[in-house]
């Protein structure tokens, strides 16, 4: 690729274009910035705008010949109905806990893969951990049902070992839900942590150890601050994944574990004219979720002074 680019410099117009851009950082920045701004407008905001409009309509799809009526009722419904609010709060608490759990479980693994495991085996080990994620979420959920059910693998094994109390109730409760969530989120924590940890200079840790810093102190003073970007990235990804989880909690959770994403799903699955209600709920979810993540981003803001561009 580089060779291609170097030889392209032989070509006059290309070279002058590239060099002009190099001389004008502002123009270069504007050109690069045009891509994300255009994409956000076309791919993120334009489709969303329609759903925002629908959320203010009395009913949609409209039977032919009926006029469009505008209303705030669907937003009001959220605040007036206690169980919607309960599911909403449950979702945020659940997503926060799941994110923390994933971080605690995956940090040592990311550390192992990026710093401890033999260098030439790292990618192979990563690919090993990625492999299960090629299987559909729903199939993986069924795999766990087969593991945890009354006549599942775990209870069969316990029965064979003659352990009293078997079969244990492992399915459709917090045990199965936790196991299932971690099963879906782990990779989305691991890869950002890996990317951030990988760049930490090993000699830095050795130097600190040589100066007599205890392992805990090294973790706290060196590893964690330097992997901050990875932690923020991983937590963001896991949080937004869990907030949107739908099928897995439905398949592995119990009757009391309805999350808000599932509530929205049910609103859309009852067909009829439920789009405005579902859209309104989605807008509330997006608004609060962004504010929530933003709050954390501010709380954990890097204390480094901003670099001049």
């Amino acid at each position: 690729m580089t060779r291609l680019l170097v030889s392209a410099r032989q070509f006059g117009p290309y070279r002058s274009a590239v060099d002009t851009l190099a001389r004008l950082p502002a123009l270069r920045f504007a050109l690069i910035a045009a891509i994300p701004i255009g994409w956000i407008a076309v791919a993120n905001l334009a489709p969303l705008a329609q759903m925002v409009a629908i959320s203010f309509q009395d009913r949609y799809p409209l039977p032919p010949g009926e006029p469009t009526l505008w209303t705030l009722n669907h937003y009001a419904a959220f605040f007036e109905t206690p169980h919607y609010l309960a599911a909403f709060i449950r979702s945020f608490a659940f997503a926060t806990l799941a994110t923390l759990l994933t971080l605690v479980v995956m940090f040592p693994i990311a550390y192992y893969l990026s710093k401890v495991a033999p260098r030439d085996r790292r990618i192979r080990l990563l690919l090993l951990v990625i492999a299960p994620f090629w299987i559909s979420e729903i199939v993986r959920s069924f795999a766990w049902i087969l593991m945890l059910a009354n006549r599942g693998a775990v209870n069969s094994a316990l029965g064979l070992l003659g352990i009293p109390g078997a079969p244990l109730d492992l399915l459709y409760n917090n045990v199965s839900l936790t196991i299932g969530v971690l099963y879906l989120t782990s990779l989305y924590m691991l890869l950002p942590l890996y990317a951030a940890l990988e760049k930490i200079d090993g000699s830095l840790l050795e130097a600190a150890a040589g100066l007599g810093a205890s392992p805990l102190k090294r973790l706290w003073r060196i590893v964690l601050p330097l992997s901050r970007d990875g932690i923020v990235g991983g937590c963001t990804l896991v949080f937004l994944l869990v907030i949107g989880l739908y099928a897995m909690p439905q398949l592995l959770g119990g009757p009391d574990d309805t999350l808000f994403a599932a509530t929205i799903g049910y609103v859309f699955s009852r067909a009829g004219d439920s789009w405005p209600l579902g859209s309104a709920f989605s807008m509330i979810l997006i608004g609060v979720a962004l504010a929530y993540v933003g709050l954390f981003a501010v709380l954990f803001r890097s204390r480094k002074p901003a670099r001049p561009t």
Partner: protein, 366 residues
């Protein structure tokens, strides 16, 4: 050397496949404009490959089947298509199709173009739920009855819905809330079909609220609520659930495979409805759609094939004779059980289902 050869072959293969891939969107685009094709949305197993091929051979019409997995999916996609429907035929369940009709997604059936309507069992052809506003809106193909599915090793055949609320079954039951709700209304002495409320929202709302509170009170009996039939099958198989409210099809499939499962209609009644094929509003291949429906209704063999792949009963005449003894035994209901079935009343369904839908969400979130 050998290694190199295989690699080169792989690359060649990949580039050929790549070329087809690039052409694919264009092909799809063209197919829709041609009149020798038909686009059908259907559940897996409703249209067998054999039928599809035979139909194409006879008529020269290519049938593109788009597999769907529930009603809302179809409704939401049609709504998103805003009248420019990509389907000619859709597959709507009887208890939901008032929503499709009222949203103007369907075309009433022109009886003049349908040759074999007489092959639909009289009981279904004349049933109220096929028609709305005095027009017929679809051709029923399979019939579903809802009742109780139970593990025969754990329970005796339950005769009443009260088994679902028995302390002895704490933590071992399951149901799909919307489907079960009307049955519980009947059980509590209300009218699950909603027809006797005749649009009187206050009385209906009180009945629905009371039923909702009753179900929340008995939530401890429930292992979990399910959505798809597969889930209830799996829960019966893994022993997590011993008693469930559900439909005949999934139960029949388990029984035919030799699992210790039974299906019964309790004395408080069960709900029956049909899945049918319906023609989309302003279907682009209208004539082909009628050709398809006529071919489907032309022979009971088509109905029998559908019964075997879904476990549901057929709405067609003459299908029962084509089934094996084992299949007949599993699929047929006793006269007494049949008498407990009530059909979903399409005219009042909209009104009662709206109330039930909201109650269902409240039960889940409670």
């Amino acid at each position: 050397m050998k290694d190199q050869l295989t690699r080169r072959r792989m690359i060649q293969g990949a580039s050929v496949l790549g070329a087809t891939a690039l052409a694919a969107p264009a092909i799809i685009g063209r197919a829709r404009a041609e009149s020798r094709s038909l686009n059908v949305w259907s559940y897996d197993g409703f249209i067998t490959d054999a039928f599809r091929e035979a139909f194409s051979d006879q008529t020269g019409i290519d049938v593109n089947v788009r597999l769907v997995s529930d009603q809302a999916e179809q409704f939401n996609l049609m709504a998103a298509e805003k009248g420019d429907f990509s389907a000619d035929i859709v597959c709507v369940a009887g208890h939901r199709f008032y929503q499709f009709i009222d949203a103007d997604f369907l075309e009433p059936i022109d009886m003049g173009q349908l040759d074999n309507w007489s092959l639909v069992q009289t009981e279904f052809a004349k049933a109220e739920w096929v028609s709305r506003r005095d027009r017929v809106w679809g051709v029923p193909v399979v019939v579903v009855s809802t009742g109780l599915i139970y593990n025969t090793e754990v329970l005796d055949r339950p005769t009443s819905l009260s088994a679902m609320f028995d302390e002895a079954n704490t933590g071992t039951t399951s149901y799909q809330i919307q489907d079960f709700f009307p049955l519980v209304m009947n059980y509590l002495g209300y009218d699950g079909t909603g027809s006797s409320y005749a649009g009187n929202t206050d009385i209906a709302q009180r009945a629905v609220d009371a039923t909702r509170d009753f179900l929340i009170e008995h939530k401890n009996k429930v292992r979990r609520y399910y959505d798809a039939a597969t889930e209830v099958q799996q829960m019966m198989l893994t022993g997590d659930v011993a008693l469930a409210a559900g439909s005949s099809g999934p139960a029949a499939q388990l029984i035919l495979e030799g699992f210790p499962v039974g299906f019964t209609i309790p004395r408080e009644g069960g709900l029956a409805y049909a899945y049918g094929f319906n023609i989309a509003r302003n279907a682009k291949n209208m004539e082909n759609a009628y050709a398809f429906l006529n071919a489907l209704l032309s022979s009971p063999e088509n109905g029998a094939a559908m019964v075997r792949s879904t476990g549901f009963n057929s709405a067609m005449k003459g299908v029962e004779e084509l089934l094996t003894d084992a299949e007949r035994k599993v699929l047929s209901l006793s006269d007494e059980e049949r008498s407990h079935l009530t059909w979903v009343d399409v005219e009042t369904a909209a009104f009662i289902f709206d109330l039930v839908d909201k109650a269902a969400e409240e039960i889940r979130a409670a």
